[in-house]
């Protein structure tokens, strides 16, 4: 299972970098999204792929019954997804406005700030 996840993570990173190297800014954003997802999956994998119940404490007990999955890795991913969602929303607004201003979906035409 671990090695399969490792391959998926690697594939996602590769796809993300390929997309980011394209000239189109829309593809750039898609690449950024894939990169975030790859990082999340990496946390998930390296946090340990254990099968276990959700770490919920039943009523009246002091600790969960039986083995539970590590909740921290999942909490980290959830937080990262939330943040990624906010950043992605911003990036979409940004490329929309950049498209309006520049009039092209092409990185090669964005040379105003080059030095």
């Amino acid at each position: 299972m671990e090695s399969m996840m490792a391959l998926v993570v690697g594939g996602l990173y590769a796809a993300a970098i390929y997309m980011m190297l394209r000239r189109s800014i829309v593809k750039l954003v898609i690449g950024l999204v894939l990169l975030g997802n790859a990082a999340n999956l990496l946390i998930f994998t390296s946090g340990g792929l254990t099968r276990g119940a959700p770490p919920l404490v039943p009523d009246g007990a002091a600790m969960p019954a039986g083995a539970v999955a590590d909740p921290l890795a999942q909490a980290l991913i959830l937080t990262a997804i939330v943040i990624g969602f906010g950043v992605l929303a911003f990036a979409v607004v940004l490329i929309h406005r950049a498209y309006e201003v520049v009039g092209a979906d092409d990185m090669d035409r964005m040379k105003d700030t080059d030095t």
Binding site: L56, V82, A89, V92, H96, R97, E100, G103
Partner: protein, 151 residues
């Protein structure tokens, strides 16, 4: 915005209150079970976004009732406010504090600062998602926006 189908419009009218109710359920359930402010806020914003797509920006703004940016502000104030009660008792910020009301026959009702924090998150999420969606939708409708062809 183009005229939308009757089915979608009718469905949006029915679904908006139902989804808002569901989001309130998720918000309250999140205290001790899966759920919570963030997911509830997303459900509520999805409902409002559906309303926006089917009935247009003006009616969505009307349904929301307030400027979404104010919602972010109010949510933040509530969330920060939930950190403060603990400080008055000399604990670290965000330490949970509960108020137990036992006026009900069904058992005592415990209201706590984590719920307050969730409520703040709920409002912040609705506010920020709606700000973004409305910004994008309005940019789409502006007459001076470049058309998709011929540029």
């Amino acid at each position: 915005m183009r005229k939308q189908s009757v089915i979608l419009r009718t469905a949006a009218h029915v679904l908006l209150p139902l989804l808002l109710l569901f989001s309130a359920f998720l918000l309250l359930r999140g205290h001790n079970a899966p759920g919570g402010g963030f997911i509830a806020g997303l459900v509520a914003s999805a409902a409002l976004a559906l309303y926006l797509f089917s009935l247009g920006i003006a009616s969505a703004r009307h349904a929301l009732g307030v400027d979404p940016r104010r919602l972010i502000g109010a949510g933040l104030v509530i969330a920060i406010g939930s950190a403060l009660p603990a400080a008055f008792f000399g604990d670290a910020f965000f330490t949970g504090r509960w108020l137990t009301l036992d006026w009900f026959p069904s058992g005592p009702l415990k209201l706590g600062t984590p719920l307050l924090f969730d409520l703040g998150v709920y409002l912040v999420v609705i506010g920020s998602v709606m700000t973004i969606v409305l910004t994008l939708a309005e940019a789409e409708e502006r007459p001076d926006a470049p058309s998709n062809e011929g540029d």
